[in-house]
């Protein structure tokens, strides 16, 4: 039964038990009384409610499957060989199996964010009460939850309201996951539609998590002037006890800061973090420090700087307890999702736990009460720090040289390295006393330590690389602007017009993990390139940290060089992974606030608007996780293309347009109903670039939209052509596909381009009011 079938609205209702005004009900869910905006067609959509929209996208952006595995081993029929058209025992073919795996990945990602949100909301309700108001920007943010409004058709007012939405999200994730069971869904396109649904659910889950923590913890509320905080291992004051927090779910870290503040100890202890917990703890307390992205876990832990390590959930190196033991740093696991085989000490007195950790009787404990984590972590750090100063897992350089002499040159380390780094050659030089080649690997190393697992001699190869570059690591001191949260409504009003008309050439969102092929510096270079070109650059998560870990010729980091407001030329850190919906939310708010489109439960129309008008592109240059897959799929359904780095090809499926198929690029002109060719705008929906240069050219290209005015298109073409000429050394070969009228041609290149257009037999076309939805056509040809 469709949910909306039971929807009704009553202006005034009198019953024996009372009266109600403006009452709206759908499936027993009570919609808000005083919200004038009507409920759109898809409140709380089921897994098939947006299937038609998905199929529109998938007919233009066809799945291109990159099989990462030729067999299926998910049931006892298998392993089934699915190669070259064979079907498994259940009847599934390889395309369907690959799309099923993509769905599984996105379900894992969505479940992780929704589970994160659930734990966070439960904790915050316990602390601050169900009636704690949602406040993510005060008067500056009227549309407080654009994604939730769009998907669910509700606007949450309190923490308690978020629980109902989480119920819906959990139900959807369960349904989606059930589709992966043997003998359920069988067609690749329906798996893909469900992938898009998982992404949409994921976006709502993330939005709820960030709304809750901004509201309850008082993180920066849509603040373009959020404070600059310190970034890098070199920023840590080694004279103090150091508590390192790692993960994504911030309550344990918050309680560490609270305990320090309440006991007047903050100046005596350093609190630093890795990954998104680091972002969020600096949003809570700007004096905390960000060490860096997830790939810096092992190198920093082995440095021995941390006296206590506290982990919560997500993206944590799963054998970190073993690494903590090597440096004699007590280890506290603080999430029921990540218990690490440790004894549960949640109900024990704090001082007993501290004694066990300090004495080494217990190297690690599980504590599922954030308040107790705060007390135990601080007390333990203060006691253990003086005892463990000598411990670090990094060898001296002399030991690196001695160890390198044992290297057999078998190349197993290189064959294990995701980036095929020339470790063997560097080891050979180290054996002769020269460690500079090992040190040179430091920036491109993603810190996975597969080289160590593969070494037949047992050499700690990763530690050798870090030791060789130890001076560099200690000098890493940067600044990053603390996550600001949402974009203000006034900012949207100011840039909405220029973005939709194309005069601000685009919004570039740099998000995701740190699985980089050539180090994080490439992300910083991309950010600076597009900020200098007056695009709006937004960032979250590890990518936001990588942008900060860079200095220009004047010694400024990008966050010092460029403004933090949502304007042309800004570089904006919105926050952690769960802050990603503020980026999607900005695109949605352009449709809602600037273009006055109804937002409430009106997903298809808003996505159509964004696809055709908002020149936004996501770049997850180091995407690694299932969460990143889910985040990307949330953007796809909304009509925002996503570029991943070369490792992203391992996500097994791209969504590629075919610019050579003219028939794929027609839209309706909403003014006339006529079908109009608009060129490949945007050309792809999901796409792995091989190099940074390719990524930069494609960013400029993917920001073009059918709705661009001629002035806007000329600006966008200028950037595309300029980047292409500089990085590819040649004029693009597809300009004729993007020029609709002569007025689109950039003035400074007019002669050159007109000559090309002539050679290509180009003909002028019209600029429509573009839509893929026939129901949005206002007047058809021939109608009065």
């Amino acid at each position: 039964m469709a949910r909306r079938a039971l929807y009704f609205r009553a202006k005034e209702l009198k019953t024996g038990v009372g009266e109600a005004k403006d009452l709206e009900i759908a499936i027993g869910r009570i919609f808000e009384e005083a919200w004038e905006e009507p409920v759109g067609p898809t409140p709380f959509p089921s897994i098939t409610d947006l299937r038609e929209w998905d199929f529109k996208l998938l007919s233009r952006y066809r799945p291109y499957y990159l099989p990462y595995c030729d067999v299926c081993c998910l049931c006892t029929f298998g392993k089934c060989d699915l190669s070259r058209g064979k079907r498994g025992a259940c009847g599934l073919d390889l395309r369907a199996q690959l799309s099923r795996i993509v769905l599984l990945a996105c379900c894992i990602g969505a479940a992780t964010h929704v589970g994160h949100a659930r734990h966070l909301v439960e904790h915050l309700i316990e602390k601050y009460g169900r009636r704690c108001p949602i406040n993510v920007g005060g008067d500056a943010v009227e549309v407080e939850a654009p994604v939730t409004r769009l998907v669910c058709g509700v606007r949450p007012k309190t923490l308690g309201d978020l629980e109902d939405i989480l119920d819906y999200l959990e139900m959807e994730v369960t349904h989606l996951l059930s589709c992966c069971h043997t003998g359920q869904e069988g067609h690749y396109l329906d798996f893909e539609s469900k992938v898009l649904h998982a992404g949409m659910i994921d976006q709502v889950g993330m939005e709820i998590a960030d709304m809750a923590q901004i509201s309850a913890y008082g993180f920066p509320r849509a603040d373009p002037d959020a404070p600059l905080v310190e970034l890098g291992p070199g920023t840590v004051d080694l004279s103090k006890p150091v508590i390192l927090v790692i993960g994504h779910n911030v309550p344990p870290a918050v309680e560490i800061v609270n305990y320090l503040n309440e006991h007047g100890l903050y100046g005596d202890v350093e609190v630093c973090g890795i990954c998104c917990t680091a972002h969020d703890i600096t949003r809570y307390n700007p004096k905390a420090k960000i060490i860096g992205p997830i790939s810096w876990q092992l190198r920093f832990v082995r440095s021995g700087i941390a006296d206590v390590i506290v982990v919560d959930e997500q993206c944590i190196r799963t054998n970190l307890i073993e690494e903590a033991k090597k440096i004699k740093a007590p280890f506290i696991a603080a999430s029921e999702k990540n218990c690490q085989g440790l004894p549960d000490r949640t109900d024990d007195p704090a001082d007993e736990i501290v004694d066990d950790l300090v004495s080494g009787r217990m190297p690690g404990v599980l504590i599922l009460d954030p308040d107790k984590v705060g007390e135990v972590a601080v007390k333990t750090a203060l006691k253990v720090a003086p005892l463990r100063k000598k411990f670090k897992a990094l060898p001296d350089v002399s030991k690196v040289i001695e160890g390198a002499k044992k290297c057999r040159g078998c190349r197993e380390c290189m064959r294990a390295c995701p980036n095929n780094l020339p470790i063997t050659e560097a080891m050979a030089k180290a054996a002769e006393g020269d460690t500079t080649a090992l040190a040179a690997l430091y920036d491109d190393c993603i810190g996975c330590a597969r080289c160590e697992s593969a070494c037949p001699v047992g050499l700690p190869v990763h530690s050798y690389i870090v030791t060789s570059a130890e001076r560099k690591m200690k000098e890493e001191k940067f600044k990053v602007r603390a996550g600001r949260g949402p974009i203000q409504d006034i900012e949207i009003r100011e840039v909405g017009g220029p973005i939709v008309l194309g005069e601000i050439p685009g919004i570039v969102a740099l998000v995701g993990c740190a699985n980089y092929a050539h180090g994080g510096v490439e992300v910083a270079e991309i950010a600076r390139e597009f900020a200098k070109r007056r695009y709006i650059v937004v960032a979250t998560g590890c990518a936001a940290m990588s942008i900060g870990a860079y200095r220009n010729e004047e010694g400024l980091t990008p966050y010092e060089e460029f403004p933090g407001s949502f304007e042309a030329g800004g570089i904006i850190n919105v926050g952690s992974c769960v802050s990603n919906p503020h980026i999607a939310g900005a695109a949605i708010k352009i449709a809602s606030i600037f273009a006055k489109r109804n937002l409430r439960a009106n997903y298809e129309e808003i996505a159509d608007y964004i696809l055709n008008r908002v020149g936004a592109v996501g770049v997850a240059w180091g995407a690694m996780s299932q969460k990143a897959a889910a985040i990307a799929s949330g953007f796809w359904r909304l009509g925002v293309p996503v570029i991943v780095g070369p490792h992203g090809s391992k996500y097994r499926r791209m969504l590629l347009g075919r610019k050579d198929r003219e028939e794929d690029w027609y839209v309706y002109d909403a003014r006339t109903g006529k079908k109009v060719y608009v060129g490949p705008c945007p050309e792809h929906l999901f796409y792995a670039a091989e190099t940074k240069e390719e990524c930069m050219v494609m960013i400029a290209k993917l920001c073009m939209r059918p709705n661009d005015t001629s002035k806007g298109r000329a600006i966008k073409l200028t950037h595309y052509i300029d980047l292409h000429k500089r990085l590819y050394g040649v004029m693009p070969d597809d300009i004729h596909l993007f020029v609709r009228t002569k007025a689109d041609v950039p003035l400074t290149m007019k002669d050159e381009i007109m000559k090309i257009l002539e050679e290509r037999g180009w003909k002028e076309s019209t600029i429509p009011d573009p839509t893929l939805l026939p129901r949005l056509i206002r007047r058809r040809e021939g109608e009065e």
């Binding site: 291109y64 990462y68 030729d70 190669s83 070259r84 095929n420 070369p646 390719e694 590819y728 040649v730």
Partner: protein
């Protein structure tokens, strides 16, 4: 000379590449093909092969055998700087998708290709693109010209030391008439 995936974890499925034991095989495959094409990634311009870059040898092979070249990523710049204009440049995933389509008319509109030579992409990226062609492009064969074994190609060199790799490429060139 090992015919195992260079990256240890990249295990292929039931169908694996035939190992090129003699470089003459590559020349014979190219000569026999009606519509060959060469796809060259950016690492071809980075990799030293005994005093010259890999891309320089590839240009000579392409010229000698008259094989159209598709440069992926920004590799077109490297070709142009050497005075060679590739037939096309496009993203690696785009050319992979086009080659998979039996209806694609090719760069020149003359029809689909029957042999694609791949070289110079990041190992794992080439690995998955070759996998897509192995399963879904049954109208064509693929050859990996890299120094590392690519199990999803139809034919691939084994993992080779650089000196040996250079020798093998030289033989290919000679047999093609270069």
């Amino acid at each position: 000379m090992s015919a195992e995936p260079w990256q240890r974890g990249e295990i292929a499925g039931p169908i694996k590449a035939t190992v090129i034991k003699k470089p003459e095989v590559v020349a014979a495959l190219v000569k026999r093909a009606k519509r060959p094409i060469m796809v060259v990634g950016h690492k071809a311009a980075e990799m030293d092969v005994g005093g010259e870059k890999l891309i320089d040898i590839l240009i000579r092979i392409a010229k000698t055998a008259n094989i159209p070249v598709v440069a992926t990523a920004h590799t077109v710049k490297e070709f142009l700087s050497r005075g060679y204009t590739p037939a096309a440049w496009m993203p690696a995933v785009d050319i992979g998708q086009r080659l998979m389509d039996p209806e694609w008319k090719g760069l020149d509109g003359q029809g689909p290709y029957d042999l694609a030579l791949f070289v110079g992409m990041p190992y794992y990226m080439e690995w998955v693109i070759l996998a897509s062609l192995k399963h879904f492009a049954t109208h064509m064969k693929t050859v990996s010209l890299d120094k590392y074994f690519q199990p999803h190609a139809t034919w691939s060199f084994p993992n080779l030391p650089t000196d040996e790799y250079r020798k093998q490429l030289k033989v290919v060139l000679e047999r093609l008439g270069g």
